[in-house]
């Protein structure tokens, strides 16, 4: 076995070992032991991922697609189910991002959650989540991919419902799980469509045979790819399967960071990038993906401007950014989409961590309306939030600027109707600037709220009565509810270290791929996409310069508007809101997607369920089938029972009578 395969397996198995060790031994460890153990497992995983990167770069360009097979599950009748990993630049890129960012999130959680009962359980789940995601991105065939896909859904359910005595949290977990299972079904059915034609589950084998098995535009392939897209949309929270993502904010803040930055939502983007040979043969499906991504980025951007829950604003910004990535990989800008995935992982994890620190300072309160003036009370958090915000808004030279503009540049370069996506992308970027800096200006600028003043005098605000921020229900701080207090980054070295590292990455991450200067990611991913017709494209210099300038102007304009509305003229936003009441209602109610799904899917199925239970089950099954059978048996047996008198002579007489009848029959017959 080559060192590359060993490193790949180690990357995968370290978090699994961590899960098992923490799950079995975590309670015996003193203090924060479980947290350190979980972080160490992820550090080992990240180190192995770097090892895999080094050994992969040691191979020749053509050899950089290595399949590591552990054993066969079944190898018969045309099914080749193996436990195999595919190690190529794409999967190594993903494991680096996933394990690296997850490691920092683990580090942050060590301090952030240490007052929670269930600390040990949290780290066991967290390691399991990362293991599932690594399994998903390393999968070498459809079977392992589906397993990893389902594991991620299960892990997200456990973590979103981590505070399991909170009704809103368990409902959010169930919602996420149900929508993800819908995606799993899409993925499995899509796999069937493709497997039927190519006859292998192996990913590389599928791609190789797909060119002979499918002519371009084959209906089965298009159907299969659209079903794969259903899976990708459910995981990546794209319209119309996105409603679980904002609700997932019910989980602890590090979980939100993990779901949004490193694991879970990037899975859909990865899937489309991984399946690019199939999507290039089914351009209709790819176009559907691009349009979904474009719609999502616009809808999510508009909602993010209206909602006031801090974490939900960031959640919608994630949806919007994933929309960019989805659009990019569907439109053939693979390296740009994955580049954005990486920079987004950095700044979104950073934003969530900073938000966690801010929420801790507010003693669990998440409403932007109640925040303000934290700039002096939380200087470190403010700095991190600002860096994350600048990167998210795409201000040069922060990382988000380079990745977002490259996506839009390559999409614009495809010409034709892709111009609509190009324009929509810049509209989305404009919205991004507004909502990001709306958060920053409202939370950190303006008049300090009492909590901020308390903190300025060196005392962290504690809630007298703990309540659920969504419903106001009173809670205790025992297991199944949030602990008594979370920590602010200013006072917790582990959180500071994690946020500082991410802030640095959010600043410099973009330099990996400066247009015309560096092409690290392009070159690195080349072996995975060597067969793609859309990979190597060189937009004209004029368009490049125009795009960069436009991106800068749009981002700065968004920020300027945010400044004008929320800092310079404090009453303006209320006036705008009352002027555009209808629009605001649509945005703040999330475009009524929840209500739409409720009316179209939830209520009809609930009605059908109660019909099945009350009418079909009671009348047909219980009444006719079960009742009818028992009735017949009962009537028959009561008739037969009447013959059993217990009189011996009566039985004897019956026997004699029977013999006589038989005798007569034979006499007649003779």
């Amino acid at each position: 076995m080559t060192s590359l395969k060993i490193f790949a397996w180690l990357t995968l198995l370290a978090p699994l070992a961590g899960t098992i060790a923490i799950g079995l031994l975590g309670r015996r460890l003193p203090g924060r032991g479980a947290g350190y153990l979980g972080t160490a497992a992820l550090a080992l995983s990240f180190a192995s991922a770097i090892g895999a990167l080094v050994s992969l770069q040691g191979l020749g360009e053509e050899e950089r697609q290595v399949v590591a097979v552990a054993w066969d599950y079944a190898n018969t009748v045309g099914v080749d189910a193996q436990l195999s990993l595919l190690v190529d630049p794409l999967s190594v890129f993903m494991i680096l991002v996933v394990s690296g960012v997850s490691m920092l999130i683990h580090l942050y959680s060590i301090g952030y959650l240490d007052s929670d009962r269930g600390y040990v359980r949290f780290f066991a789940y967290l390691n399991y989540f990362v293991f599932s995601m690594l399994l998903l991105v390393l999968a070498g065939n459809f079977l392992v991919l589906i397993i990893g896909w389902a594991f991620v859904g299960a892990a997200s359910y456990m973590l979103i419902s981590f505070w399991y005595r909170r009704g809103t949290a368990t409902r959010a977990g169930i919602k996420a799980f149900v929508i993800n299972v819908l995606g799993d079904v899409g993925l499995v059915l899509g796999t069937f469509f493709i497997f039927k034609h190519v006859g292998t589950l192996d990913l590389l084998g599928t791609f190789e045979r797909s060119k002979e098995a499918f002519e371009p535009g084959n209906a089965d392939l298009t159907a299969g790819c659209i079903l794969l897209l259903v899976g990708a949309c459910a995981k990546s929270a794209q319209i119309p399967l996105h409603t679980w993502l904002p609700d997932a904010m019910e989980g602890p803040t590090p979980v939100s960071a993990l779901i949004h930055a490193a694991t879970m939502v990037t899975a859909g983007v990865y899937l489309v990038a991984r399946m690019h040979p199939l999507f290039e043969l089914a351009p209709t499906a790819a176009d559907v993906g691009a349009i979904i991504g474009c719609l999502t980025l616009l809808v999510a951007g508009t909602i993010a401007i209206a909602v006031t829950d801090l974490k939900r604003v960031i959640a919608y910004s994630t949806m919007s950014q994933i929309g960019y990535m989805f659009m990019a990989v569907s439109a053939g800008a693979y390296a740009a989409g994955l580049f954005h995935l990486m920079t987004h992982a950095f700044f979104k994890a950073l934003l969530f961590m900073a938000a966690g620190s801010l929420i801790a300072a507010m003693a669990g309160q998440q409403d932007l309306d109640k925040m303000g003036g934290f700039r002096r009370a939380l200087p470190f958090t403010y700095g991190c939030f600002a860096i994350g915000g600048l990167a998210l808004a795409g201000v040069p030279p922060f990382s988000g600027f380079f990745s977002k503009d490259e996506i839009l540049l390559l999409i614009g370069d495809r010409g034709g109707w892709y111009w609509i996506l190009y324009v929509a992308g810049y509209v989305g970027a404009f919205l991004t600037g507004i909502y990001t800096f709306r958060m920053i200006f409202r939370a950190f600028f303006g008049e300090p709220v009492p909590e901020a003043r308390e903190l300025e005098q060196g005392h962290l605000h504690h809630a007298e009565v703990h309540t659920n921020p969504a419903t106001g229900e009173v809670e205790d701080t025992d297991v199944g509810f949030p602990g008594p207090d979370h920590h602010i980054a200013e006072r917790e070295p582990s959180m500071k270290l994690a946020m500082g590292t991410l802030a640095l990455l959010a600043v410099v991450g973009g330099f990996l791929q400066i247009p015309k200067v560096t092409h690290v990611i392009d070159h690195f991913l080349e072996p995975t996409f060597h067969d793609s017709a859309l990979y190597e494209r060189h937009p004209s210099d004029g368009m490049l310069a125009f795009g960069l300038a436009l991106g800068t102007v749009v981002a700065l304009a968004g920020i300027a508007i945010a400044y004008y509305v929320w800092v310079a003229n404090p009453g303006l936003s209320a006036r705008v809101r009352s002027r555009l009441a209808a629009l605001h209602t649509v945005f703040v109610n999330k475009w009524f997607f929840d209500e739409l799904i409720d009316a179209l899917v939830v209520r009809p199925s609930r009605w059908f369920g109660s019909f099945a239970q009350q009418t079909f089950e009671r009348v047909v099954v219980n009444g006719v089938l079960v009742g009818g059978t028992t009735g017949v048996v009962k009537a028959g047996s009561s008739a037969v029972r009447a013959a059993q008198t217990g009189f011996l002579r009566y039985y004897a007489a019956l026997i004699v009578l029977g013999m006589v009848v038989i005798g007569f029959y034979f006499l007649m017959a003779a």
């Binding site: 037969v640 009447a642 059993q644 008198t645 217990g646 009189f647 011996l648 002579r649 004699v656």
Partner: protein, 99 residues
């Protein structure tokens, strides 16, 4: 002699036995009547064996006797056990098998 006479006697004894089984209430008498029925059947078997000149019927009659002996032994045993258990010696009183 014509086979008919033998069969007539056999049928008569069988009918007497059957009537006894149906009318009497004492288990002892019922057993006796059962013996009558079995022996009536034996008579018919032997008569037919003679008519056909085939020993199979006679062998069958022997087997019937053996079975009858066993049956009487068990039947009497049960009656003795009933007597010891102070149960009524009357088949109409013993009707716990009623459904």
């Amino acid at each position: 002699m014509d086979i008919g006479w033998y069969l007539a006697v056999s049928a008569l004894i069988f009918t007497i036995g059957a009537a006894g089984v149906l009318t009497r209430r004492s288990p002892l008498v019922i057993l006796l009547c059962l013996e009558l029925m079995l022996n009536a059947a034996n008579l018919a078997l032997i008569a037919f064996a003679r008519m056909h000149g085939d020993p199979d019927g006679q062998i069958f009659a022997f087997i019937v006797m053996v079975v009858a002996a066993c049956e009487v032994t068990i039947g009497l045993g049960i009656i003795v056990a009933m007597h010891r258990g102070r149960l009524p010696i009357d088949v109409d009183e013993l009707r716990e098998l009623q459904g």
